[in-house]
Symmetry: C2
Subunit: 695 residues, 2 copies
């Protein structure tokens, strides 16, 4: 390929990344506006009814109305997820982590998944569940990236005949990481955080130009969202909505925090770690329960509806019993003030917290004046929301756990700030409860998801204040250390429960004495360089050899020397070859036979037909196939004595899927796949989880 | 090694990173305070004299005094660099880039280098050269890291017997990248930018925990600097000095920029790219001239003094001829106002620009009210400072090019803002020249150094305003694209001129048809697994086989089969083995002979003695050495047909230094080293540069 061609490719990559950013930003914008509009309508309906019924005393009716309304909305979201595209459930972050890690999960980046995801998240949020719309943005961005970069939609059966070069795993994965970054960027207004997220989860091999393109996609994404939202808010050019969630401006002038507050922050980080671990353990048990008993779609929808009804009931009860009335100042532009049982000119702050979108509640907890919430409200809210959020995560609805975590943390963080101020009275040193709400939010989120660098940067960018970088980092470190002592992060738990061969950063610490010989699968099915079609078909059809790569060996004809490794060929390549009947005999007989081109492989990507769908006649089975020009002639190999960490590093650094283990004579003795590495890892920590997930 | 041991190691790594951050912050603090104090003294002396002499008309005397004073200070800096540690010259960024890339440059991370660097940069800045103190911080941080992580100082002959595990290349390199990040962080108050710098320049294999530690070091570094500087400024707890350079607060509220300004920003990026390319080309010619004619230390010192004198003269002339007098407002707390030829109650703004430390000038250009500078002043200043900075970079003084670039850019950027405001009068749309100064600064810096992601984040963090992220990114992209069209970045030019085998991100675009066979060095000197000492000594002494790694081969005894690869051993390992006389005969005769331990290799690291210093008697030459247990028994290998990009990727992803090329029979046919890859790359672009640098 010429130099000019490479330049064209490079430009296409930039164009694709720009498109990914733009479309991801648009989707974020669409979700935001849809949620706002629908929530507004719902609020009007409920408010009117509550006001009517409160006067006539029919409280139970208004509760019923609210609960039914929410359940109905959630039902819609549950049905489309459970019946049409179960992979769209949850936040999608575990799935994207796996995809970027190199594990192919079926249907995870399809158009249908995106549509269900977007519609589902709108239903979940409008339905009043304890969820956020941020996590799903990451999945959405990834799907957009996978679609745009391929220049076609297999679902819609449209091929735009562009970007054909990108129809391969490595290129697609790079774009998907850009899409995930664009999603983070749009969700939190954090372009740098998005890049770091993509790197933390995806890139094993750091490439400067790739990173730069990812950053470009992120920037375009947040900028697109910002422009469209500012137009929607009738304030074009304002550019104050870089993300779906806006933490609001923390004061940048003056003393942000004092040196002696740092131990307090660290203590809060420890609390966050403990609560996060509790959350994860409860959710782990719940998920096992669900895997065992709630695996039928209709049951899943019913559970989602139940949660929606319970959420509404709990909220209603708490609003009913709370007397936390706050004066409604004239300048106080609350969007959804509910008077309820308060005096005129006042509003119920608990109702505000429950009725708002969670994003707005986080904002209020960060920024409302000291005294807006009373401690009892905050304590009760933390408690109930904690269990509701825990119950909600893992339902068959499309929703994220970021915002609920932030909200729980902000509530108890604000409570901490309140208590500190109370203790140090009459000279309240730490007057700003918003600051403690922020620290608490970081601690709780860190304790649940256990992200590190990217989360710090996301929080700092969402806060818009670099000064809080150090405390946020310390809090996240503490909560991770404390949390890791008890249990893994929420995403890792869910990845494990799906028994996915996920490769972590490093080989297990004590694995240095293990060698490739012990880890590898053996014996391996090898193919000859010129192989009988029947053998190939049988090999591919054999369910016990369900490998995706086969070493190709050659025997020097006439000698009794052992067979030597000469290449590696993929299952998908073999299938395309079989489909086009690239047999030696045919090539000889029909001179006009079209030569198989790279294009044929690209066209089949990524949905290669199964072997069963390819018909091979009995005559054809006797033909031969010459694999020489299609196989990878220089596969990566290691000697048998290579240590596991070294094998692991090769896999991670080069993004390998198959590694051939050879002996001194260059004979194939085994094959290491991701599963071999991951299985070992899982086996070390607890094999029972794996077995359970397979039932 | 047990699991517990790994945990201890992990904790040590964190402690080391904390220490690196703390010490780097302290050094930054020391440099800042020393510069401030010395500059204050110099200002007092010069001001007094200028005032005296201006009245009596002895202008030439005060010029002379100023020039002599500056030259004298620069002389001190020049002497210590040129005579004691030439590697401390310049910003050190090219050297650190090379180190992190895997190239060992002698003496680059020694204590002596650090001392000279710190003293040198203080002299350069106080001597009034057009330089900054930021670049050298990165080098300083790297030296601190290399020192702290080894737990000893070979120069001071002190061994603290700690961190012995880290005495190996890979660990040390990781810490050095943390040190470089801490340096960036302290220089610009940009901890995330520091991490990204370290990743861009150093990490080929992304590791989550490593990145997290690097971030920790960066955070500690900026925090340390912040605390100590706030104490120095008698405002403890203020925490408003996160970096050596402070861009000051840009307004965070309201409209930062408008959508239609973006094309203007991009145009400014193009200007920055052009000017940057011009700068680099001029500096390239100058450097070639210096390599040819100014290579004696005393000449280098004299050149530095000459530049100092010329800088002083030019400044003085411009101050003399400029009539840019500005009123000295009562609230205007200029630190160094010079009245000079202005009326009472006014000060000369040109003098302020020239007399201030460059950091403060940048700050003024960003934030002073519109109208503070007149356009002629700015134009003249841009012109002169451009050439002065270009002349200065590459002198035998320790100094950076970041701040001069920013200053040049800020000057012409402000000029652009001024012109735009003038054009759009009477309704000046773009009223804030500070904003244009910022964009110009980014454009100019990007055009010169061509950093991408890390520079964007550094600029955003230094600005403290996330809103400017998009324009800064676009400007940096444009300036890089435009600049790259003409010439490489300044650091890359200097790396090339030193003919260092630097590996870029990817193999050259058109190299896919090249295979390992064409790239490798062949034939290779191999050693037998049990080899005669004499052969080893001869091999190591042979200057034509100056490889650092040797394949170890084995022949099945009695057979006539070819020799097979069984391992790889490093020159340094062989030297330690020879030094300790680990000979088979000795081991047999003396049963009490101490077994060579890992510790012996660590103790020798990193200054392995040359082979000439090891005495081997004639009898010993006849002994045999068994390399089995010391060699790397599973070296990375590739077949001969492996393409260059694949070889390249292995080198970059795994940080390799040697890659053995084998044939089908596992026989050694060649060895690929970094030089083989880099030489090819250099050869493609222009071999004459390489030859020139070798003279």
């Amino acid at each position: 390929m010429s130099h000019m061609n490479f330049r064209c490719l490079e430009i296409s990559r930039w164009v694709v990344c720009g498109l990914i950013g733009f479309l991801t930003g648009l989707i974020a914008c669409f979700i935001d506006i849809a949620v706002e509009e629908l929530a507004g309508i719902k609020y009007q309906v409920v408010k009117k009814n509550i006001e009517n019924f409160t006067e006539v005393g029919g409280l139970s009716i208004s509760l019923l109305l609210w609960a039914v309304l929410n359940s109905a909305i959630v039902m819609v979201g549950g049905i489309i997820v459970a019946f049409f595209e179960p992979i769209a459930a949850g936040s999608g972050i575990p799935q994207i982590k796996c995809y970027l890690n190199g594990v192919k999960i079926p249907r995870v980046v399809r158009l249908k998944t995106l549509v269900v995801k977007v519609a589902g998240v709108i239903c979940s949020v409008v339905g009043g569940l304890a969820v956020g719309k941020e996590g799903p943005m990451i999945h959405s961005g990834a799907v957009v990236a996978a679609g745009v970069s391929q220049g076609r939609s297999t679902s819609l059966k449209r091929d735009f005949k562009i970007f054909e070069y990108f129809r391969r795993d490595t290129e697609k994965r790079d774009f998907v990481s850009a899409g995930a970054a664009a999603g983070v960027s749009a969700a939190f207004g954090a372009p740098v955080g998005g890049v770091l997220f993509a790197l933390e989860e995806g890139a094993s091999f750091w490439n400067q130009m790739l990173t730069w393109r990812i950053f470009f996609a992120s920037m375009i994404s947040t900028f697109t969202l910002n422009i469209f939202l500012s137009v929607y808010n009738k304030n074009p050019g304002d550019l104050s909505n870089p993300g779906l969630i806006n933490f609001g401006r923390f004061p940048v002038d003056g003393v942000a925090y004092n040196f002696y507050e740092i131990p307090l922050f660290i203590a809060m980080g420890a609390i966050g770690g403990l609560l996060g671990a509790l959350f994860n353990i409860l959710n782990y048990w719940l998920t096992i329960f669900r895997i065992r008993y709630v695996h039928r779609p209709c049951l899943q929808v019913m559970e989602a509806m139940l949660v929606a009804a319970v959420t509404a009931t709990v909220s209603f009860t708490m609003i009913y019993f709370s007397n936390d009335c706050q004066p409604l100042g004239p300048e106080d532009k609350k969007e959804y003030p509910l008077q309820l049982f308060c005096a005129d000119g006042e509003y119920n702050s608990m109702a505000t917290t429950f009725f708002n979108t969670p994003e707005r509640s986080v904002h209020s907890l960060f920024h409302n004046q000291p005294g807006t919430y009373n401690p009892l409200t905050l304590g009760l809210f933390t408690l109930t929301y904690f269990f509701l959020a825990c119950w909600t995560y893992g339902l068959a609805v499309s929703a994220g756990v970021f915002i609920p975590s932030l909200l729980i943390g902000a509530a108890w963080g604000r409570l901490c700030g309140f208590l500190l101020a109370a203790i140090t009275t009459p000279a309240p040193l730490w007057a700003d409860p918003g600051k403690y709400a922020l620290i608490g939010a970081a601690a709780q989120l860190g304790g649940i998801v256990r992200m590190t660098l990217s989360l710090t940067v996301i929080m700092v960018e969402a806060t818009g204040n670099v000064t809080y970088g150090l405390p946020i980092m310390l809090v996240l470190m503490t909560s991770k250390i404390v949390g890791d002592y008890f249990v893994e992060g929420l995403y890792d738990i869910h990845i494990k429960l799906q028994s996915i061969p996920f490769l972590h950063w490093e080989a297990p610490a004590t694995s240095h004495w293990l060698t490739a010989r012990e880890v590898m699968s053996s014996p391996v099915t090898c193919l000859n360089r010129i192989e009988k079609v029947g053998t190939i078909v049988d090999t591919l059809s054999n369910t016990s050899t369900n490998h995706n790569g086969f070493p190709v060996v050659v025997q020097v004809s006439g000698s009794d020397e052992p067979e030597k490794l000469c290449g590696l060929i993929l299952r998908s390549q073999l299938i395309v070859l079989l489909k086009h009947k690239v047999f030696v005999e045919l090539a000889r007989s029909r001179l006009t036979h079209r030569k198989l081109q790279l294009k044929d492989f690209r066209d089949a990507y990524p949905r290669f037909p199964p072997i069963q769908s390819i018909h091979v006649s009995q005559d054809e089975r006797e033909c031969m196939m010459d694999l020489t020009e299609f196989m990878n002639a220089t596969p990566y190999t290691v000697p048998q004595e290579t240590s596991l960490p070294r094998v692991f590093k090769l896999f991670r650094a080069l993004g390998l899927r198959h590694l051939v283990v050879v002996d001194d004579e260059n004979r194939v003795v085994g094959l290491v796949t991701r599963k071999d590495l991951a299985r070992y890892h899982i086996g070390k920590h607890g094999l029972e989880e794996l077995q359970l997930a397979q039932t």
